[in-house]
């Protein structure tokens, strides 16, 4: 893992704007080391599966860093995209689990059990594409992204932004939940889609499957970090920041502000969707409780705790909050919510820039001093005019 650091150390002198600064490579290496080596060797299968579940939320937090931290679009409806991605995957798995042989006792064998309970006798048309795995994998990302595109294009072309947009995304999360709960014959209602068993014949409920899925999940997450880093470093990323800080100036310079905003929002949706699909695979079910307002806001909190300007912070923040949630609730079933609340208050009061702020202010300068020949990092970008702190 030292190699990239060294190669880059050399390239720093020739390249003024490298893809990642050495310190960022170090962060990436550290994250990869913890996720792919340390945690799997320390934790038993059950705890590792839990971490895998937490990491699926990190996809959403990552999307929020780009969308909220960089582009300044606060979305309180990321649960929609997480949920849609998860539901797409769950529909495929449910169809596979509802083979005629498995559902003999139903009035109509071969359709999901909840449809049978709701007197539906034929597979609805929109379930049909999910009989194919390749198509499902495409739809997992395509459906949420198209949905995000439709919402954001409609909003941003009309120059609806800031708080209004946040409220609208929240309303959409609420509407989608009500829709899923209400149409239980087609969606499984409040129970969600449960009892998922196999992925193309491969039993996803075993410990070994959970371990493999964990590594797939970790790999995808690191991939998404690299994509996000690419966006952040490119000219596009700079326009996003400029847009966040002075939208009018960017517009008068001749850029289509709406287009960039739509892009950032769709990218965040795509990340969330991948997270949702991985969630379904690892947890074994999907329910409307991930689509609504509460999970959507929780996901914003993950990004805030991690530091909303930091890709790595998003992942660490998600891990920290979820780990705290699980361990508080196991140790103090009656009081855990207070503990969690105290954690949030402490973070916001003491470290307004989240975990990334601690890293940047206290650890990074020391590390930089240690590593010879490195230039001091530029001062942290302090956002102005970003909505909803």
């Amino acid at each position: 893992m030292k190699n990239p650091v060294q190669t880059l150390t050399k390239s720093v002198t020739v390249n003024d704007n490298p893809f990642m600064k050495p310190i960022e490579w170090l962060s990436l290496a550290l994250l990869a080391l913890v996720l792919l080596v340390v945690l799997p060797s320390l934790l038993d299968a059950f705890r590792l599966n839990l971490v895998g579940k937490y990491l699926t939320y990190a996809f959403v937090a990552l999307g929020l860093v780009i969308c909220w931290g960089y582009a300044g679009i606060l979305s309180l409806g990321q649960g929609c995209f997480f949920g849609l991605g998860g539901y797409c995957m769950a529909m495929y798995l449910k169809l596979e689990a509802s083979s005629v042989a498995n559902t003999k006792i139903q009035s109509t064998p071969g359709i999901p059990d909840f449809m049978d309970w709701n007197q539906i006798t034929e597979l609805p048309w929109f379930w049909k594409p999910f009989q194919s795995l390749p198509l499902t994998l495409i739809l997992v990302v395509a459906v949420p992204v198209l949905f995000a595109f439709a919402i954001s294009a409609a909003m941003f072309k009309r120059r609806v932004g800031g708080t209004y947009f946040a409220i609208i995304t929240q309303a959409i999360a609420a509407i989608l939940t009500i829709l899923i709960v209400g149409q239980q014959g087609y969606t499984g209602g409040i129970n969600g889609i449960t009892d998922l068993r196999t992925l193309h014949g491969w039993d996803i409920r075993t410990d070994s499957a959970h371990t493999i899925l964990y590594f797939v999940n970790g790999g995808l997450l690191l991939g998404c970090i690299l994509i996000a880093q690419f966006v952040k470093k490119s000219k596009l990323g700079r326009i996003l920041v400029a847009m966040r800080d002075k939208e009018d100036r960017v517009r008068f310079s001749g850029y289509s502000v709406a287009g960039f905003k739509v892009f950032a929002f769709c990218l965040a949706a795509a990340f969330a969707a991948i997270g949702g699909a991985m969630f379904t695979l690892q947890v074994g079910f999907m329910s409307p409780s991930f689509v609504g307002i509460v999970p959507s806001i929780e996901m914003v909190i993950y990004a805030a705790v991690g530091g909303r300007m930091s890709l790595f912070g998003a992942v660490w923040g998600t891990l920290l909050v979820n780990w705290a949630k699980t361990s508080f609730s196991e140790s103090f079933p009656d009081l855990w919510l207070f503990g969690l609340g105290a954690l949030f208050i402490a973070v916001v009061l003491a470290f307004p820039n989240g975990l990334a702020g601690i890293w940047r202010e206290h650890i990074e300068p020391r590390l930089t001093r240690r590593v010879k020949g490195l230039r001091a990092p530029p001062p942290a970008i302090v956002p102005h005019g970003a909505p909803a702190e």
Binding site: S41, L50, V181, N191
Partner: protein, 422 residues
């Protein structure tokens, strides 16, 4: 990852191992205690062969209900009843000479959390049995976990049926047990021939009403004049109340749940529908719900359950007194609370019959067990893992209690997959 690493790690951190060590360390102290403090049970190796958390003095049982979130109000009673039953069993010497140790987890009214905690209770804590869940959604979420890890769940709520698992015992009623006798009664005694169904929109009311409709149309030869559903938490019932006034059904049949109940009955009363004249039969209101609705708002309505706090028998008198002693004078006891109280006792009886805590043996020993100490009278476990129990109809009184107006003469057989009702 090498599998060996995992096994090693698991072995070192296994709570069982740790407990065994602690048990060994405590052994000298044990000899100081009075001899009769422990009923000498059979050797641990004889009663547990599958690695459950059983020591020479203790057996671990999980409790998994929502302590926080919207369901906390409903689930509190169930959780209290389970703790009461376990305390009583421990006082009487435990199961197979072992005290029950409780590990409680919070499902937080969130279905995935239920699944996570169920897995923790089974995989990490190696619980020999788990008492828990309330909503169908939470049960559906934990079901694959219990089946995969061969756990044992005692589920207390009356529910929609259409389910039967080797790993679950359903101590509440399934839909036909709760509904059919009540409909027969209202048809015979109140001349009910036209019905209006009002329910919350999820699987339990939908399935219950499906069964009720078939029974009304095919058996009672009556008519359903309306069927309406509202999202969970809905509070505006004026439109459906107007429809009820227009269609003038003999019987309003409701399965509205949770907070919506409060709004529904208040608005019903405000609209001038007098429940002493209009027959209303509900399958979703117990003493717990009346606590929120207010006795005055619902007085006169009929509720169809298997248990009411006002049942007159010695078992129940003792149960009510013990419950109030442990949890306070003001607590009320509803149908689900009583069903939850049965769980630990049924588990104890099955373990003792099997002479083992092993899940497979406990499951095999359970069918046809009879529990005569049940507050509701006596119950029997059917081979389909549901309980034979009586159906009762109670009339709500302004003080929040029910006056029992009908009790089915015999125990009713559970039928989770009713033929002709699907």
């Amino acid at each position: 990852m090498a599998d060996g690493d995992h096994d090693l790690n698991r072995g070192l951190r296994s709570p069982l191992r740790r407990k065994l060590l602690m048990g060994l360390a405590a052994a000298p102290a044990l000899s100081l205690l009075p001899r009769n403090a422990f009923a000498a049970g059979p050797a641990t190796s004889a009663v547990s062969t599958t690695g459950l958390a059983v020591t020479d003095t203790e057996v671990t049982c999980g409790i998994l209900h929502s302590i926080t979130g919207t369901m906390a109000i409903s689930e509190t009673g169930a959780q209290q009843a389970e703790k009461l039953a376990i305390a009583q069993i421990n006082e009487a010497g435990g199961i197979l000479g072992r005290k029950i140790k409780i590990i409680q987890e919070d499902g937080a009214s969130d279905w995935p959390t239920f699944a996570e905690k169920a897995k923790k209770l089974l995989v990490n804590d190696k619980c020999a049995a788990v008492m828990g869940c309330w909503t169908s959604a939470s049960r559906k979420a934990v079901l694959p976990v219990f089946e995969q890890y061969n756990g044992l769940l005692y589920y207390p709520t009356f529910y929609e049926g259409l389910e039967q698992s080797k790993n679950v015992f359903y101590t509440g009623q399934e839909a036909t047990q709760q509904i059919l006798a009540g409909l027969d009664w209202v048809h015979k005694e109140k001349g009910g021939d036209t019905f209006f169904f009002v329910g919350s929109d999820y699987i339990w009311p939908r399935t219950s009403n499906k069964i009720a409709r078939k029974h009304v149309e095919n058996v009672l030869k009556g008519k359903v004049v309306g069927e309406e559903y509202f999202p969970l938490g809905h509070t505006q019932f004026n439109s459906v109340i107007n429809k009820i006034k227009l269609t003038k059904p003999k019987v309003i049949f409701t399965d509205v749940v949770g907070g919506s109940n409060v709004a529904f009955y208040k608005q019903l009363k405000a609209s001038g529908i007098d429940l002493s004249k209009q027959v209303l039969l509900t399958i979703s209101v117990t003493e717990d719900e009346i606590d929120g609705i207010g006795g005055d708002n619902i007085a006169g309505a009929y509720s169809c359950m298997k248990y009411f706090q006002s049942i007159e028998n010695d078992n129940n008198k003792k149960f009510v007194a013990d419950f109030k002693k442990m949890w306070g004078e003001k607590t009320v006891i509803g149908d689900v609370t009583q069903a939850a109280y049965l769980g630990p006792y049924l588990w104890k009886m099955a373990c003792e019959k099997a002479g083992s805590f092993d899940v497979d043996k406990v499951v095999a020993a359970s069918p046809d067990l009879e529990f005569k100490g049940a507050p509701e009278g006596y119950v029997r476990i059917d081979p389909n893992h549901h309980l034979w129990s009586k159906t009762r109809v109670g009339k709500a009184k302004p003080d929040g209690q029910f006056e029992i107006v009908y009790t089915s003469p015999e125990l009713i057989k559970p039928d989770p997959f009713p033929k002709g009702y699907q």
